[in-house]
């Protein structure tokens, strides 16, 4: 597989621009971020995700991942452990420390097959741990499982929102161009939490 002159996969810029157009604080359920320093792995994973109808955002390093997350909210993050500078564990720590990213499920995809890494990852709150080489089917199943979980939780939350929404708030919800999250915050504060 060919690398670009800067050693990054070419898709990144495009997806980043797309992400900027539509900032989201709620996770987009079909968007998956792939964090790996190896552009070939990123490419294969991105193609695989796309082939099953998911959007892939590629990040070439831990720092790149954190930077992208400022403007986009993936449903799941696929994270490599062995990366230069900031390794996967450090990325995990950073993501879990930040309340805006703490709830994004992280699936570690690594060549490290030792129980210490697993345990450390578990303590850091990763959702799942896959060892390379991994079958495509298995990887997709695990990604889908996390996305489905997210969807069922969203359904529950929507039902509770409907139930607890104060009727006088409804004109606000209809207001155009207002980010959904702000409306929801407004709704929440009107009810007093």
């Amino acid at each position: 597989m060919r690398r670009n002159s800067d050693g990054r996969a070419g898709v990144t810029v495009k997806t980043l621009a797309a992400a900027r157009r539509k900032p989201l604080t709620r996770p987009a359920v079909r968007r998956v971020m792939v964090v790996d320093d190896d552009p070939d792995v990123r490419k294969v994973l991105a193609l695989l995700l796309k082939s099953s109808g998911l959007n892939a955002i590629e990040a070439s390093s831990g720092a790149h991942c954190l930077k992208l997350l400022a403007s986009t909210r993936p449903a799941v993050i696929l994270l490599d452990l062995m990366m230069p500078e900031m390794d996967g564990f450090e990325v995990c720590q950073a993501l879990k420390r930040d309340p805006t990213t703490a709830e994004i499920p992280i699936i570690v995809v690594t060549a490290r097959d030792d129980s210490l890494s697993r345990m450390r990852a578990a303590r850091l709150g990763v959702s799942d741990f896959l060892v390379k080489p991994v079958s495509k089917e298995r990887l997709l199943n695990r990604v889908r499982a996390q996305i489905e979980l997210l969807e069922t939780m969203n359904r529950t939350q929507a039902a509770i929102d409907r139930l607890t929404a104060a009727p006088q708030v409804s004109p606000l919800v209809k207001e155009r161009g207002r980010p959904r999250a702000r409306v929801q915050r407004a709704r929440g504060s009107l009810q007093g939490g």
Partner: protein, 342 residues
């Protein structure tokens, strides 16, 4: 059994921390938060999820977090009570309502007055009774068997099923109107394999509980055994994990649980490639043999690639295949090699 279930609900012996809700997984964190919110409402909740995930734990947590917490929580297993008895168990009966009804009986809805009733396995309820339950939900009134008038009850209804009730509705074994009445707020409890990263924490929690309950030993699990527990798929979910640990600590004379003590089916789960070993157990559901074979091929291909550092030529040789055959199988099995090449 009914008396016992009420007793267990009324007694202060709610099992301390809510077991099924222990964990760090984002889905569990979020579920706890959603439970807190839904508890404050008086809404009917339908709890789904595989068996053993802790649906009753969720119902109890909803009750405990609600303004009804000081009133009874009454669990009813609709599948465990014979169909012909279910109505009188749930709604009560008058004296002489049927042969043997020598004294009037309040029924579980009556017992739950002011509190919460939990209808487990609600999908197993016979259709005729489903209609009566619907009326109770609509009128907030139960009519004991043989009674002329209904009795007002103030009960919050939570229900659970491990069957897909939407499908049961399509198959006409569950009333559609009742389904929508129950599922005002649908909650799905994740399976344990969907939140594997919580396994170490749950293991520690259960071992600690067993230690305090039996009050003697400091059990621990070796890293290797933990890796197997992590890799296993847990069809029986948290309950299966809890039962296993209880069995292991009872049977073992050592303090350390090692991988050899784990059941074969769990030990088999850990494989260098992280793939589960196909078992030859065949039950009435049958098996997709070509999928099993593909899986096995995939695992050998994985292993061969791993040993040869991704060299396909050498990997093919290891498996006694021509390179072209190997590549074809590689494509078919869909293995992502370490270097990302498919």
């Amino acid at each position: 059994m009914t008396a016992a279930s009420i007793e267990s609900a009324e007694g202060a012996g709610l099992p301390g921390a809510p077991i099924g809700l222990i964990g760090n997984h984002p889905s569990i964190v979020r579920l706890r938060e959603l439970i807190g919110r839904v508890a404050a409402t008086d809404s009917t909740v339908l709890i789904g999820g595989e068996s053993g995930v802790g649906k009753e734990v969720v119902a109890r947590a909803i009750h405990a977090g609600s303004p009804r917490a000081s009133k009874p929580f009454v669990p009813v297993n609709c599948a465990a009570i014979p169909h012909e008895m279910l109505e009188s168990e749930m709604f009560g009966h008058e004296r002489g309502a049927f042969t043997g009804a020598v004294a009037p009986r309040q029924g579980l809805f009556g017992a739950a007055h002011g509190g919460t009733i939990f209808l487990d396995e609600v999908g197993e309820m016979p259709l005729a009774l489903q209609a009566k339950l619907l009326r109770v939900l609509e009128d907030r009134e139960v009519r004991p068997l043989g009674a002329n008038r209904g009795v007002r009850v103030d009960v919050r209804v939570t229900a659970a099923s491990n069957r897909d009730l939407a499908r049961a509705v399509r198959e006409k074994t569950f009333r559609e109107d009742l389904f929508y009445r129950l599922q005002v707020v649908p909650i799905t409890v994740p399976s344990l394999r969907e939140r594997r990263s919580d396994i170490p924490m749950l293991v520690e929690y259960f071992l600690e509980r067993l230690r305090t309950r039996q009050g003697r030993r400091n059990w621990s699990v070796t890293e290797e055994a933990m890796a197997s527990l992590w890799a296993y798929d847990w069809p029986g979910n948290v309950r299966e994990l809890e039962n296993l640990l209880e069995r292991l600590t009872v049977l073992s004379d050592r303090d350390e649980i090692d991988v050899e003590q784990l059941p074969e089916v769990i030990r088999a789960g850990i494989h260098p490639a992280g793939d589960s070993r196909p078992s030859v157990a065949l039950d009435e559901r049958g098996v997709d043999l070509s999928a099993v074979i593909r899986n096995l091929e995939g695992r050998y291909i994985n292993e061969a690639l791993k040993r040869t550092g991704g060299n396909k030529q050498a990997a093919a040789r290891l498996l006694g295949l021509k390179r072209t055959t190997f590549s074809a199988k590689l494509r078919r099995c869909g293995v992502i090699a370490m270097d990302g090449r498919a």
